[in-house]
């Protein structure tokens, strides 16, 4: 590693940096006008050495040279930002219906819920990894049917779907009592704040009349 880069090194460095494509030694030499290819090659190797251990590397691929991010830092280029969001009420309902009735088609889910279900709701559940496509029902129209996944059981701490409380137990626990309007309104508001539930807001207002 030379302490002070010479002019050829500087020129090669800047040219490769500004170039949209990887460049061969010949193209570089041509571009820099009258510089010997051997000199360019020497500069490239010096630079390669110079950048070793830095955040950027100078690399040769198929005789063409270019700069790239150091492989161990590749994760910096594609960062993932996790955000935790509460499932919207509509999605929770759909998930519950899938769990209790699986495999079910979307039409069946809608008929059980009594309201239309937006396509996005099932997408969210599939993205969450809790619901999966489970083939098609062999009836006219061959609708897609949905079922829960092992991840679903795991997330909700169930060893099997049979662990889900039955209707009688739900009733005994008071869970079949209609929610009062105030609570419903409060929950809607909470969901809005949570976002992701825009498409459901209208559903709820129509539900309350249902």
């Amino acid at each position: 590693m030379s302490e002070k880069p010479d002019e050829v090194m500087r020129a090669v460095e800047a040219t490769l940096f500004a170039s949209e494509d990887a460049l061969t030694v010949e193209v570089l030499a041509g571009h820099l006008g009258g510089i010997d290819a051997a000199e360019v090659r020497e500069a490239l190797h010096a630079l390669e050495e110079y950048y070793r251990g830095r955040g950027i590397h100078l690399v040769e691929r198929g005789k063409r040279w270019h700069f790239e991010t150091a492989p161990d830092l590749a994760h910096l280029l594609r960062r993932e930002r996790e955000q935790v969001r509460r499932l919207s009420r509509a999605a929770t309902e759909v998930l519950a219906i899938v769990a209790y009735h699986e495999p079910v088609s979307r039409a069946e889910i809608e008929s059980i819920r009594g309201v239309q279900t937006s396509a996005g709701t099932l997408d969210v559940l599939m993205e969450a990894g809790w619901v999966k496509l489970a083939g098609r029902r062999e009836v006219p129209g061959r609708p897609v049917i949905y079922a829960t996944t092992p991840e679903f059981l795991e997330h909700f701490g169930l060893s099997s779907r049979r662990d889900l409380p039955g209707i009688d137990e739900l009733r005994a626990a008071g869970l079949l009592d209609p929610v009062d309007d105030a609570l419903e309104a409060a929950m809607d508001r909470e969901e809005e704040a949570d976002s992701g539930a825009e498409e459901d807001a209208e559903e709820y207002s129509s539900e309350s009349q249902a």
Partner: protein, 269 residues
Amino acid sequence: MNEDGLLFDAPQADDAEGGWIGPAGSKGADDALYLELDGWEGPLDLLLDLARRQKVDLRQISILALVDQYLGYIERAEALRLELAADYLVMAAWLAYLKSALLLPRDEQEEPSAEELALRLQLRLQRLGAMREAAARLMGRDRIGRDIFLRGAPEGIRIDRKTQWKCDSFALIQAYGQVKARTAPRIYHVFDRPVMTLESALERVSAMLGVTLDWMDLREFLPKHAEPRLRKSALASSFVAALELARQGRAEIAQEEIFGSLRLRRIGQ
């Protein structure tokens, strides 16, 4: 803003370049006064150009000389029958006035003084000149994409947002309960209410009318001691019954005033 309304209260030309083109070949005919093919962006621009030709600092230009040069220029342009934009002529007229005022003894000058007007013009020229120079220096800098280059093929950095959905089993079960509760078949109970049907009212009213020939108030037909809700129903039914009897020609109805008591009498046969 019209801080210089004195100078420029006339309509100004648009700043289209080249709207002010001299004949080709006239360039260089006179060192101080040639017609530029490029033209100027208005009279102030021309004045600045002329002032620059005095080859002194803008702070030291002679306004009188400048005025003469401008007026000479305009005259020359007119002699060549060039279309002069109105604001050049307005400026010429104003400068002619300024010149005559500058030549007057000081105590005969009006307010603002000619010196003040001249100074103002000079200050404006200095400011325009400064900006013109600044623009040139700015444009002469090393510029990205011309002299200096950014990375040709950046990989780009991106942030992918991944959502971690959260829900617990109670919320799940509760949601199912709500679906069931919402969609469960509902049983409606309709409670019997004490009513007097139209048939019984008709029977009752006609029976009671048969007893007397006198006018009777509608309220007298209602069952006494009935509970209020039954009384209401009886009043409504009896009223309709009275109308029906009147229609059949079996009774007549009278009412003295709006909302007054309704009286009923049998029509004798």
